[in-house]
């Protein structure tokens, strides 16, 4: 399909309000549910400080205002502080999305001085054993210390815990831990099945009973604690009958920049075949956002097929997630099969049914694949092989 840049696009399309810079794919953790591409080891070199600062200035000129700094682990970059300072001077609200590994009193003081607005800290579980197992590291105590640093530097504390079959039964303990740490916000984000999580889906999908228990525990906790702590429970979309309004539609508000400068209309868009993703090394942000074929391909509704094309809900959910449509059906222009109106919905219900059958003790069945540089190279090789066959 060839979609050239429509005339006068810039009048109809809003600014990229939410800019996410994935500063690096390097990460000391090896989480089994990471959404980073499994082929990350095969991507090009990371952008230099000056490139990131130029991207920040160009995107800000278009109206970008919420900035996420993530990765990988953004603290791995030793130029994080000048990047934050540059972003602050431009007027961004700056969110650091981190595992906490690499944070120290010295760095948090420097980041605060540079104008960092907020830190989101991830935990893998409420127990040292499972936290450390799921990230394949020894980081639990270190994260608890970072939580204390975040509080002492007067940041609003936001904890993020990715849920899946192996930790979802610990939701009560996770919420207690968050309360002890003085968190104001907790995101219980059920795993989204992309990247490494897709590789491990059969091991990570919870059962419906687990999910209902976790929601009930969360509801009771909210009742007890009241408005002191806000708990967001992100339901895994495999259990829904309508798709999520992914990215509010591609090319609508979200612009991601991968470590090598690749511009992404969603976090996982690298996987979509035939989408020639532009790179900030070669194009300015304005032309990428408004004019590139990649950012226009799934804008609006012209790309939609049935049942989306004639669906009354298409302007609410935008047909769901393009990457999920591609992963499950092989074609990114299909309806997200999470939708029960999709002819491919059975692919989702079958995966859930398989998870019910496999609600076996952790460790049973196929081994978990930990995110790892060496394994990433192996995955890339096998992807090349299957691509040739």
């Amino acid at each position: 399909m060839s979609v050239g840049p429509p005339l006068q696009t810039s009048h109809a399309v809003g600014p990229p309000l939410w800019l996410l810079l994935e500063l690096t794919y390097r990460c000391p953790l090896h989480c089994v549910f990471c959404y980073n591409p499994t082929e990350f080891a095969a991507t090009g070199p990371e952008l230099a400080t000056a490139d990131w600062l130029r991207v920040l200035a160009e995107a800000r000129a278009l109206g970008a205002v919420q900035l996420g700094l993530s990765g990988g682990e953004p603290l791995v970059r030793d130029d994080l502080e000048p990047i934050v300072a540059g972003a602050h001077a431009l007027g961004y609200y700056i969110n650091l999305i981190t595992s906490g590994v690499g944070m120290s009193e010295q760095r948090i003081r420097a980041l605060k001085g540079a104008g960092l607005d907020h830190i989101q800290l991830s935990f893998q579980d409420s127990t040292r054993e499972l936290n450390d197992f799921l990230s394949s590291t020894r980081t639990f105590e270190l994260k608890a210390q970072v939580a204390e640093l975040i509080r002492s530097y007067d940041y609003p504390m936001v904890l993020n815990v990715v849920l899946h079959r192996l930790n979802i039964d610990h939701v009560g303990e996770i919420l207690e831990m968050a309360q002890r740490m003085g968190a104001q916000y907790v995101e219980l984000a059920n795993t989204q099945y992309y990247g490494w999580a897709w590789l491990n889906r059969a091991q990570l999908l919870p059962s419906r009973a687990q999910l209902q228990r976790a929601e009930e525990v969360t509801r009771r906790f909210r009742e007890r604690v009241g408005s002191k702590m806000q708990v967001y429970f992100v339901v895994p979309d495999y259990f829904e009958t309508r798709p999520k309004a992914c990215m509010n539609g591609l090319g609508s508000i979200f612009l991601g920049i991968a470590p090598d400068g690749t511009a992404l209309p969603c976090h996982a868009a690298r996987m979509l075949p035939g989408l020639a993703l532009p790179n900030v090394r070669e194009h300015d942000v304005r032309s990428i956002w408004y004019d590139s074929a990649a950012f226009n391909q799934f804008r609006g509704e012209a790309w939609m097929r049935e049942p989306c094309r004639s669906c009354a809900e298409r302007s609410r959910d935008f047909g769901g997630c393009r990457c999920q449509a591609y992963l499950l059906t092989g074609d990114a222009a299909n309806a997200d099969p999470v939708c029960e109106l999709s002819p491919h919905h059975h692919l989702v219900t079958e995966a859930v049914a398989a998870a019910e059958r496999a609600a076996a003790p952790p460790g049973a069945g196929a081994p978990l694949v930990f995110r790892d540089h060496r394994i990433s190279i192996a995955v890339e090789r096998s992807a090349c092989r299957s691509g040739q066959s």
Partner: protein, 92 residues
């Protein structure tokens, strides 16, 4: 929640930031991983919530700026809503 007292001094809550965004032609309230685009009157009220001025002074300033009177109930109602949503907090 009971009505905000006229002597209360509302301020933008800790961790949040209010700023004018030319691209959106609006005041926006920025908070961890989110943003609210404010309409004209909400922007006019919140941009006066500096933790120094009392609610009564804010009302007087708004009435002067917009050449009108009788705003106190509407402003108090909005500040109450903003408190519930944790957009503002009250300073001593």
């Amino acid at each position: 929640m009971s009505a905000v007292a006229p002597g209360a001094r509302p301020a933008i809550a800790r961790g949040l930031r209010l700023q004018w965004e030319p691209a959106q032609e609006a005041h926006v309230l920025l908070y961890p991983e989110g943003m609210v685009k404010l309409n004209g009157s909400a922007g006019a009220i919140l941009s006066r919530c500096d933790g120094v001025r009392t609610l009564k002074e804010i009302v007087a300033d708004l009435e002067r700026s917009f050449g009108t009177t009788g705003l106190s109930d509407d402003v108090a109602a909005f500040v109450t809503l903003a408190l519930e949503r944790r957009w503002v907090e009250l300073r001593e």
